[in-house]
């Protein structure tokens, strides 16, 4: 089914995609002429496949549940923000806050993302084939962020229990983020994520892992004199 945003309103297109007849066999949709509109495919909850042909604006595929969404273009701020499950695959670049606060599902970005990729992520798996901007994985709580390129300043600042896997250079680490030794379990996680994004598994050896030093979890008694 083809949904043309030049002919139908964004609200109508989203309504159609949000209220799928579960008994029907219509499972594949295409959205054409996105023209940078905001909130395209936000709030989908069924197991459908949607291909967006072009560039989108803010919050594309936000709050996604179950749906598999492919964007043949770039996406604006907050792609797949607060996603619960399903897959979002961006064939171009993403703007800031990609996958922000998302609880689950998989976000694959073929290009680069700008700042704050995976900010406050709560269980999502994000795989970026390019580089990420500054403050990525800021306060990341759970889930995995895989970066095949480089990371900007303050990677993983104030990170909790999320993992960051990175192949390229880290410009600087944020507070309480440190390199970790990768064990078998971590390697298996990375292997399955690379597989999801069709990246050669042999690349595993080129990745480093970062996580929380857990020094901000509790008050440091040495600082008591500050009060």
């Amino acid at each position: 089914m083809n949904l043309n945003l030049k002919k139908e309103s964004l609200r109508k297109v989203n309504e159609t995609l949000q209220s799928i007849d579960r008994k029907s066999n219509k499972k594949i949709f295409k959205v054409s002429n996105p023209d940078g509109n905001h909130a395209i495919c936000a709030g989908l909850k069924d197991e459908i496949e949607v291909t967006i042909d072009g560039h989108t604006g803010y919050y594309c595929a936000g709050m996604n549940m179950n749906a598999n969404i492919i964007v043949n273009g770039n996406v604006g701020t907050g792609v797949a923000e607060n996603m619960m499950s399903g897959t979002v695959h961006v064939k171009g670049n993403a703007s800031q806050s990609a996958g922000a606060t998302a609880h689950g599902g998989t976000l694959i970005i073929d290009g680069d993302t700008s700042s704050r990729c995976g900010i406050s992520m709560k269980g999502i798996d994000i795989i970026v084939k390019g580089s990420v901007g500054h403050m990525s994985a800021f306060m990341a709580q759970s889930g995995n962020l895989v970066i095949c390129g480089d990371a900007g300043d303050a990677l993983g600042d104030s990170i909790y229990e999320a993992n960051i896997f990175i192949k390229g250079k880290v410009k600087s680490l944020g507070a309480d983020c440190e390199e970790k030794k990768m064990n078998k379990k971590d390697q298996n996680i990375l292997r399955s994520l690379l597989k999801k994004a069709s990246i050669n598994e042999s690349e595993i050896k080129n990745f480093k892992m970062y996580g929380s030093a857990r020094k901000l979890y509790n008050f440091n008694l040495d600082n008591v004199s500050e009060y």
Binding site: G36, N37, Q96
Partner: protein
């Protein structure tokens, strides 16, 4: 919030459509800034002539023209909505002094190729009032304002111009503008309003008058201007964009062999020719990008 847009044409075949392109860009950014709007258009240079863009608070254009022509020789006045474009050979220093005696007029910009228009109201109405669609030129910059730290007036609207053929639009806010305003005023830079962006425009004018390039001046600004900003700055040779190091104010650039377009959001350029095959990127924080002759 605020919306900012800019377009620089590399291919002259589009010059006659500059106004049309900018109209679409400003209309789509109306949602980011519904309070007021303004734009600067650069067209080909008129040798030894100056164009003064003036906002008038009366509609008695004929009387104003008559009065001015007594004081200024060889004058041509074109009126569009509440603005006058006054063309004369008279140099800025002298002409600006004369303008000061006309309480009903306020200068919004001047130079050999710039024309600036700004007005309170929804951007969609503002661009209609000034018939932006009909303008042609080589590059243009626009702004749609959601007012934060100063009043919704024409004085508080962008673009700001504090020097010949210069203009600046801004999305964001500056925190050290009061101090900077004082130090720039001491250096003789005229800053009329209490608006933060006008101070940044004055800062750029000061840098350019010290024979620094626009790029150098904007790089210095990263140290001296404290706050959040994405700036698009225009001169008669072209335009430049810079974002502060935190880069929380958005910007996206689309470049083709025919033009470079900048906007707060991609949707502002979705109507431009062949934009889907353009090179599209977000300017990196703390880096100056410029295009021009």
């Amino acid at each position: 919030m605020c919306g900012i847009v800019g377009i620089y044409l590399k291919n002259k075949k589009y010059n006659s459509q500059l106004g049309k392109f900018l109209t679409g860009m400003m209309n789509s950014m109306a949602t980011r800034g519904p309070d007021s709007a303004g734009f600067a258009i650069y067209s080909s240079e008129k040798k030894k002539k100056y164009k003064y863009s003036v906002c008038s608070n009366t509609d008695q254009v004929k009387e104003i023209s008559k009065k001015l022509s007594k004081q200024v020789k060889d004058i041509k006045v074109k009126s569009i909505s509440d603005h006058l474009i006054i063309e004369t050979v008279m140099k800025p220093k002298k002409f600006i002094e004369i303008l000061k005696n006309h309480d009903e007029l306020s200068l919004v910009g001047y130079g050999s190729c710039i024309e600036i228009f700004k007005q309170v109201g929804n951007p969609k109405d503002v661009v209609k009032n000034f018939s932006l669609e009909k303008f042609s030129g080589s590059h243009a910059i626009g702004h749609t304002r959601m007012a934060t730290e100063s009043a919704i007036t024409t004085d508080g609207s962008h673009p700001y111009s504090t020097g010949e053929d210069e203009c600046l639009v801004h999305n964001g806010s500056l925190s050290n503008h009061n101090n900077l305003r004082r130090s720039l005023q001491k250096k003789g830079i005229e800053i009329k309003s209490m608006n933060d962006t006008e101070v940044a425009a004055g800062y750029i004018s000061n840098g350019l008058s010290d024979k620094k390039s626009l790029k150098e001046t904007l790089l210095d600004g990263l140290k001296d201007l404290d706050g959040f900003y994405t700036f698009i700055s225009g001169t008669k040779n072209g335009m430049a964009i810079v974002r502060d190091e935190i880069a929380c104010k958005p910007a996206v650039v689309a470049e083709t062999k025919d033009y470079v377009a900048i906007a707060s959001e991609f949707q502002a350029m979705a109507h431009l020719p062949n934009v889907n095959s353009a090179k599209i990127f977000e300017p990196e924080p703390g880096k100056v990008y410029s295009w021009g002759k």
